[in-house]
Amino acid sequence: MATITFEVNGEREEVAFAPHKTLLEVLREDLGLTGTKHGCELGECGTCTVLLDGTPVLSCLVLGLACAGHAVRTVEAMAQGGKLHPLQETFADLGAAQCGYCTPAFLLAAEALLAANPKPTRAEIKDALAGNLCRCTGYIKIYEAVELAAARMRGERAEPTRESLYGR
């Protein structure tokens, strides 16, 4: 058994696990944080994305042991005080989550993007989310949700466009 201390969603956690376990397994199985999903466990699909010290990582490729002393952020920390994060609001309102399986990973990747670049272009959003696969939405709704949340996080009074709600 390996024992590490690290920060998970702003709280100090001490956790013991078999040393071969990935961060994905430690989060889901040892800490009960099942909001982080697995899609391939081969580093191909991005579904297991979490933030490690603010940077998106594929938690299926990171050993739990390597996280000692670091800070991990999962989807469970995004809504605060019973209120959704602006990205969660727009993903819900614009239909950017269909089956919802890839959604936590997209949210975290988008959050990291907006922290570094509060006003990304569509191309920059596409680039930042290129490592995350979604099979339901076709990505357009996801890009629109990120753009709308970004505007609101900049303090603009942005509303969804008619096109993104009703189509062309």
């Binding site: 078999a18 889901r28 199985e29 944080l33 099942t34 909001g35 982080t36 999903k37 697995h38 899609g39 391939c40 466990e41 081969l42 699909c45 579904t47 999962t74 989807v75 469970e76 995004m78 809504a79 959704l84 990205l87 969660q88 993903f91 819900a92 309102d93 239909g95 989550a97 269909q98 089956c99 919802g100 399986y101 890839c102 959604t103 936590p104 949210l107 696969l133 979604c134 099979r135 339901c136």
Partner: protein, 512 residues
Amino acid sequence: MRKVDAVAKVTGATRFADDLAFPRMLYCKLLRSTQPHARIVSIDVTTAKQLDGVQAVLTGPDLPIPFGILPVSQDEHALCLDKVRFIGDPVAAVAATTEETATAALDLIKVVYEPLKSFDSAEAAVAHPEPQIHDYADSGNLHKLINLEFGDVEAGIGEADLVREDLFFFEGNTHLPMEQHAAVAMWSPDGKLTLWTSTQTPHYVHRALAKVLELPAARIRVIATPNGGGFGGKSDPFSHEIAVAKLAMITGRPVKITLTREEVFYCHRGRHPTLMWVRTGVKRDGAITGMHFRSLLDGGAYGSYGVASTYYTGALQTVTYNVPRYHFQGARAFTNKAPCGPKRGHGTPQPRFALEVHLDKIAEQLEIDPAELRLRTLVPPNSLTANYLRVGSMGLGKCIAKVVEGSDWKKRFRKLPEGRGVGLACSSYISGAGLPIYWNNMPHSGVQLKCDRGGGVTVFCGSTEIGQGSDSILAYIVAEVLGIDPFDIAVVTADTISPRSTSAATRAASRS
């Protein structure tokens, strides 16, 4: 409007099958065939059973009753009985206290195979009727043969000014939902079984469990967990669902299985690779006088929905363009590959690709604009096609006109620089099924409402939420009729204790 499950999905609160865990839960792994086609000479599980932490090991004879999604194709066993039919066919199941132990136990199982000649394409299966992959096939290794003629097609083609013949091949593909299939079974000492599973069709899984486990259906509850994408790939009852149920019954403990991404490809049930031949007669103005369409489907190792898929490759050619006389011949081959089945559009995207390209070629020969050719040959509204499909309203003409206008078609078709082009294709699909899989006179689906004294309303329905929004639609409809807020409504679906859509597929090959 927000979907009723949107907040759960964006907060990570939605519980998918693999997110479930119970005290004393065991983990199941399946040993899969390394051979494409072979007789099983022997399976030795003695050492595997002795491994510390292993609680039970199953092989074919523990689950000898066959099952399958269609009544005419009950050709699968939870674990192969006497032979394996593709690389990945499950031959043994282990339940152990950890996933690592279950995986280690698989390596201790010794299987002796006697290889048989295997077939990797429909053409190979046609060429070699022996050895048969299944003995119930219509002919040799041809699972299903269909021949339907509506009107005298040769006479129709004889009246044509131009007869064109083409051959097309559509490569197969797979669904790839982001969520791997997973299931958890729990057995209670009062003889009741509960299965939570990532399925689009809980009611069919229910049927298969009752049959294979020889349990009264009333003692089994199947709960379809929200699907992390399905696209048709989670519409069959699967070996892993039956194996965990049996293991839970034997051990008296909850048993869970989560397939690896590799195993999802073995479940497959993807779109059939299809070879298509089409011969059509047309008048100089583009009017179709007759069409003869043949399809050869590579079905893989089992029946699955394949009989339906085969009919689908011939059913809808007549519903967009007026085909007054129509002849369809279909054949589905068994091959030693992961089984094909329903995937979005179920058997119709392949012939649609063939038909649309074929029409473009005809338009080219007749020197008619392909958009114009389609507009001239549209099926009229409120009509019956040659193969007896009822067409109600017909908006395809308006749709083509809008596309022609919006794409600036007239200025761009055949006028773009080398290497660039603009094209147009149409498609259509049926709404509702004429007959359910298990024929009966009951409604295809039903909804029950529970209204409580506090003003709360609960909707119960057999449909499965796979991301397409069916739970939300149920809430919206009820809210509109009752004049209440959809978010005041609780929706309970995809649970076999709620009203059964016993007949129609719950969500086959659907949007998500």
